[in-house]
């Protein structure tokens, strides 16, 4: 089968995308497919039109590849593609929209407020920030609405840290959200088709949980898969994850990030196209479920070609 691997692009997660793409290409080659590696640039549509692949493996992350843009083009060209649909991608990439959908569907997600830059520049939204303490409390998390990595995610321990955190988050997107900080265990549930894979836990190696930056330093976080959870906890986490996945209309595969706090699981976000590098969480979860990377890639392709098989 002729499989095009779409990778690169202009997003800040270009590097991860290139690594995901390279790894997927290797696996597809070993599976005996005819692999067409395509850099997502101005020549993409032309190349796809000329090459007419049987299916496109979308190995792109962040705006451009994970937001429905590339998927829309593939639909126009009539080429089946891996991962979620245009609409699901558009909902997942926008954390604010995703949270609204989840809240409406009863999927637990931490309280939040969202602002766009115009609100501050033109509507005096700064005067509304005073209500944050009352409504969300401190500490709180400030993050860009779009963007899939830790970049731009800041932690404000007090009122005085909010403006600087907002300036940082607005570097990545025109819309940011301020979210209640939920103390708890950090979990990720990858979903393949309609099946949840074993839960992965990110464990910060010692240190202060409030030290947000340190949690993203190499070597300061380890991963446990499957996470050590009780039966009831596992069931609640899986239920929340599948609820988020379904609410946002995901298909193929995606990864749901959650916090397991005192009041049960809370969904932070859904990554429509999570990384598939050798340090990424989804492949770790698949491995814990007894799937090799090749089997994972083959299954993702099957789901793209036979959506009913899900």
């Amino acid at each position: 089968m002729k499989v095009a691997v779409l990778k690169g692009g202009r997003s800040l997660e270009r590097g991860v995308s290139l690594r995901t793409g390279a790894r997927v290409e290797d696996a597809l080659g070993r599976l005996g497919h005819d692999v067409l590696a395509l850099e997502a640039d101005a020549g993409l549509v032309k190349r796809l039109g000329e090459e007419r692949p049987d299916v496109a493996f979308v190995a792109m992350h962040g705006p451009g590849g994970e937001d429905g843009t590339a998927q829309e083009l593939l639909e126009i060209l009539g080429i089946p593609f891996t991962g979620p649909s245009v609409a699901a991608c558009a909902r997942c990439i926008d954390k604010v929209l995703a949270k609204h959908e989840m809240r409406a569907a009863g999927v637990p997600t931490p309280d939040w407020f969202a602002f766009n830059e115009t609100a501050f520049r033109e509507l005096g939204a700064a005067d509304a920030l005073g209500a944050l303490e009352e409504r969300l409390g401190f500490p709180l998390v400030v993050k860009p609405s779009r963007g899939g990595s830790a970049l731009g995610v800041k932690f404000a321990a007090s009122w005085f840290e909010v403006p600087e955190a907002l300036v940082a988050a607005f570097s990545y997107d025109d819309r940011v959200l301020l979210e209640r900080f939920v103390e708890g265990r950090e979990l990720a549930v990858s979903v393949l088709g309609a099946e949840p894979l074993p839960v992965v836990e990110a464990i910060p190696a010692g240190g202060d949980r409030y030290d947000f930056e340190a949690r993203y330093e190499i070597g300061r976080t380890t991963f446990a898969c499957p996470a050590e959870l009780g039966e009831a906890e596992t069931a609640a986490v899986i239920e929340a994850a599948l609820g988020a996945y379904e609410t946002l209309g995901c298909s193929g595969f995606s990864r749901v990030d959650l916090i397991l706090g005192e009041d049960g699981p809370q969904v932070l976000e859904v990554n429509a196209i999570p990384g598939l590098t050798d340090t990424s969480l989804l492949p770790q979860a698949a491995e814990a479920a007894g799937m090799s990377f090749e089997q994972l890639v083959e299954r993702i392709l099957d789901l793209a070609l036979k959506p009913a098989a899900a």
Partner: protein, 423 residues
């Protein structure tokens, strides 16, 4: 997901062809005459093929050392050829010096900010890196003395003080003559080694040349690091170290272990080049190019950066160091700048301890004048937007002039004055 790898990914985006990159430290190689290149390589092939394709001595060819002597003489230095080793770029010289002198936990002192490429070297040898603030006159020697006394109190001695005294990377500042004398005297009095990294000394666009530390010291306590990268080509990967015999013996052993010898082919290239060309004329032509680019960058900064920003105006080298209000994190700003297709190096790369977050390094050697103007315009735009947004968020009055002291030119340099916090 991890922060440093996310940062690496961000830097990977700066390599996109449509991005105006003021992030690299690339010397201009576009004006090196291709016919000279071709003629030299032909001569090497015809006259010295066997030797140019063979292993060479670990210390380097005598002829390469003769070329090095010419380069050092141009700045008033006369090293003993026996004290010189040819290395794979100046970067390897720094690595070999650390390999020779530094054990895990040893104190190493350098400038704040320091050469970003030295940071991973110090880290990989697990040095306890202590950074001494710089100002317009380079490393603050009185702070160095305080740090040394503090170490004395702990019964420790730093293995060396690392400095780029001329047109420092990244700050663009040059150590004053008075501080050079004080540093050399301090080294002598305390029998303390100084590593002088001088890649840019000959790239001076204005002002009077200053003697290198090596010249002032005579090579007793100063280990010198030089390179052909900025005066000829970084692609040939040729640098050198000059060190007193007991240190040099160990460096040679380390070099043997690392890569046996430096490329003999490119050593032949340098030999041919120095024999057949007027190398100083080429350096002079580079100086003219870089002066124009420095001027373009500084003019654009004056035009496009908000009054809250300050920057250095270097008299040579490749870099300007700009400092923004403390509430702007330049790693985040880089993401915003990349949306405008322009890149710089966030200041944190020049520190071991997370400082430098509101500063940035801007390179002017690797882009043409028009590109520099456009790049600075775009960075100025995103900085201006952040300043305005912060004002809207805090109600702080906007457009207030930056803090300025008597006699200073507008926006130039007040980069870490006495009593002013680091940020």
């Amino acid at each position: 997901m991890m922060r440093s790898s996310a940062m690496r990914d961000l830097m990977a985006v700066t390599a996109r062809p449509d991005v105006i990159s003021l992030a690299g430290g690339l010397p201009d190689t576009s004006t090196f005459p291709p016919q000279t290149f071709a003629a030299q390589m032909t001569r090497i092939a015809q006259e010295s093929a066997a030797e140019a394709l063979q292993y060479g001595p670990t210390e380097g060819f005598k002829e390469t050392v003769d070329c090095i002597a010419q380069v050092m003489a141009a700045e008033g230095m006369l090293p003993d050829p026996e004290d010189v080793i040819v290395t794979t770029g100046g970067q390897q010289a720094i690595d070999l010096i650390c390999k020779t002198l530094v054990d895990p936990g040893d104190a190493v002192i350098c400038e704040a900010p320091t050469y970003p490429g030295a940071v991973p070297v110090f880290c990989s040898y697990q040095a306890d890196t202590i950074q001494i603030e710089c100002d317009v006159d380079g490393m603050r020697i009185e702070e160095l003395e305080v740090a040394l006394e503090r170490l004395d109190g702990e019964g420790r001695r730093p293995k060396f003080v690392y400095s780029v005294p001329s047109f420092q990377n990244p700050a663009g500042v040059t150590m004053s003559l008075e501080r050079r004398h004080r540093l050399v005297e301090l080294a002598r009095r305390r029998e303390l080694l100084v590593v002088e990294d001088n890649p840019y000394g000959l790239l001076r666009f204005g002002g009077e040349p200053l003697p290198p530390l090596y010249q002032l010291d005579g090579g007793d306590f100063v280990i010198y690091v030089g390179t052909f990268s900025k005066i000829l080509s970084p692609g040939i990967r040729l640098g050198w170290a000059v060190a007193p015999p007991p240190v040099m013996e160990k460096i040679v052993l380390g070099k043997q272990a690392a890569d046996l010898c430096t490329s003999t082919l490119t050593q032949h290239f340098v030999r041919e080049y120095f024999a057949s060309s007027r190398w100083r004329e080429y350096v002079a032509s580079l100086v003219e190019i870089y002066r124009g680019r420095r001027d373009a960058m500084v003019e654009a900064l004056r035009l496009h950066f908000p009054p809250q920003a300050t920057w250095t105006e270097p008299e040579g080298g490749l870099f300007v160091w700009a400092t923004l209000p403390e509430y702007i994190d330049t790693e985040d700003l880089l993401a915003k700048a990349l949306r405008e297709d322009v890149a710089f190096v966030p200041g944190r790369a020049a520190y071991v301890d997370g400082r430098g977050r509101n500063s940035m390094r801007l390179n002017f050697s690797g882009a043409g004048e028009d590109e520099i103007r456009e790049g600075i315009r775009r960075i100025g735009k995103v900085v201006g937007e952040q300043v305005e947004l912060y004002g809207a968020l805090t109600g702080e009055h906007q457009g207030a002039p930056a803090r300025r002291e008597e006699g200073e030119r507008e926006n130039v340099v007040p980069f870490r004055k006495t009593g002013e916090g680091g940020g």
